[in-house]
Amino acid sequence: MKFLRNTLDKIKPHVQKGGKFQKFRSTFDAFETFLYVPDHVTKSGSHIRDGIDLKRAMSVVVIALMPALLFGMWNVGYQHFLAIGQTAGFCELFWYGFLQVLPIIIVSYVVGLGVEFIFAQIRGHEVNEGFLVSGMLIPMIMPVDTPLWMVAVATIFAVIIGKEVFGGTGMNIFNPALLARAFIFFAYPSKISGDFVWVSGLSDSTTKVVDGFSGATPMGLAGQGQFDKIPDFWTMFIGNIPGSIGETSKIAILIGAAILIISGIGSFRIMLSTILGGSAMIYIFNLFAANPYMEISPLVQLSMGGFLFGAVFMATDPVSASQTSTGKIIYGFLIGMIAMLIRVLNPAYPEGMMLAILMMNMFAPLIDYYVVEANIKRRLKRAKLSSIKS
């Protein structure tokens, strides 16, 4: 560790203002503050400072994502070997999945960070590692067979249009990772829907697939009306089903949720209210029960598709979510309701979580505004009452 510090200190004078390589100052800053907690402090005004800064918070989220990612890698291998009808050991399954998933992660990080660094250099501000989490989230919400160049294009779109035009990390209205997925969803719909994209190797017509293996996700089956084929709750809870890389295992996601809640980085209000909102909507559907889709019980419905993943990792994005406590509850509740509404009632979109979160991202500032206004009004009223009394 001493060696790292020494190298950094050696380079530092060159990239300072007036140094030889001052153009690369933001790049250097990015690496230095990533490796070590920066030593600069706020200079004016009173401030309360936590020991943890943005980069450290991001790392915790990435750690929380690990269980889902590792399970996703194993599941990619498992589904692939299931599809071609061979058996393989645990290590072989995992290794196969690892080799399939790793390129997507690398592309997402290299492209995304590349764009961020270029913008930071041009605009002369420091590189914010807001992309650390987005870069990990993007691969996890893609089908494993997504072509790499599409991941690259979607990442560029998400970082530039989703983040840089609004002023960079912390200024974005929408969740960049979801924007990348939405981009692929609308630009290349054949690569992110249907039965053949979710299992590695299935979209290649030369792959021999075992009879009876469809590769359809639970969402796909429900969309086609094959409700009897939807796996039971425990299968979906454990997660050895086809789906986007990170979304299948509910156990792994819940472990991630526990890490986020215990470390205080993810808002449990948003997670809980999202699930509550989803359940409320399902109960309403159950009451009407106009078609088989509406009759699915809440537990099964909640464990289908990317609902839980979205609720834990996407909706809780501190930048694009509501900031006030009451606002968070309203925000989460509406995400849950809208996601279920789109999922069940709109046949064009098999899963509604992505669109629900993006839509509520848009309304989050509005919710905050009214929560704050209501608070001001309430306190004004109290102030008036007490002044009358005295």
Binding site: V165, F183, F186, A187, Y188, P189, K191
Partner: protein
């Protein structure tokens, strides 16, 4: 009103006074007709003609139009010209006219037209007004064509209806971008054009 050179009247709307990217007028037709270049070109041409001639006519009439009913008079002139253009398109360019459908008729409500008539033609001599109309029409067309170029190239892999992306690309896994066909991408493209223009001409950036 200060006299402006005729050449300035023609050149300003192309860049510094562009009706779409600077004054943000006529956005809705820019979203609707820019999926392909051909309709976009015809639309731009139609708007240019209508803007130029309505400016000419209104400017010639400007001293006789009673102030209180000037909007109605302007609308009558514009509507007459739009109908002529529409009929001409139907007669000679039926396919494109069908693609443009209602949007030719909607030129009447295009904000660029009323804006130029109110802001320029009502207070200037016929010839400068005519030039001003052409300039603004061209400024509108340029933006329309550049958006349509990107959208057609990336959305359908063609330019002016000709496939220009070689089939080899598709075999290698390239796919047309479906988002380009949808209107939201046109908004984003206009945004990007505005962004580029403002980083190029710094004086356009609002404080």
């Amino acid at each position: 009103m200060a006299q402006v050179k005729n050449s300035k009247l023609l050149a300003n709307p192309l860049n510094l006074q562009n009706p779409v990217t600077v004054q943000v007028l006529g956005i809705c037709s820019a979203l609707a007709v820019t999926v392909q270049m051909k309709p976009a070109f015809v639309m731009g041409l139609s708007v240019t003609i209508v803007t130029a001639f309505s400016s000419l006519i209104i400017s010639a009439l400007r001293n006789t139009i009673p102030n209180r009913i000037r909007i109605i008079v302007q609308l009558v002139v514009v509507a007459a010209l739009v109908i002529i253009v529409d009929q001409l398109l139907k007669a000679f360019l039926y396919d494109v006219s069908k693609q443009l459908s209602v949007f030719v008729g909607l030129i009447i409500t295009n904000c660029i037209l009323m804006g130029r008539l109110e802001a320029f033609a009502m207070g200037n001599k016929p010839f400068p007004s005519f030039i001003d109309g052409i300039g603004n029409g061209l400024g509108y067309s340029i933006i329309l064509l550049s958006i349509a170029f990107v959208r057609e190239l990336l959305g359908s892999g063609s330019i002016w209806g000709f496939k220009i992306i070689p089939p080899v690309f598709y075999q290698l896994g390239y796919e047309n971008n479906g988002l380009m066909i949808l209107p939201p991408m046109a908004v984003i493209l206009i945004g990007i054009i505005i962004w580029i223009q403002r980083s190029w001409k710094k004086e356009l950036i609002e404080k």
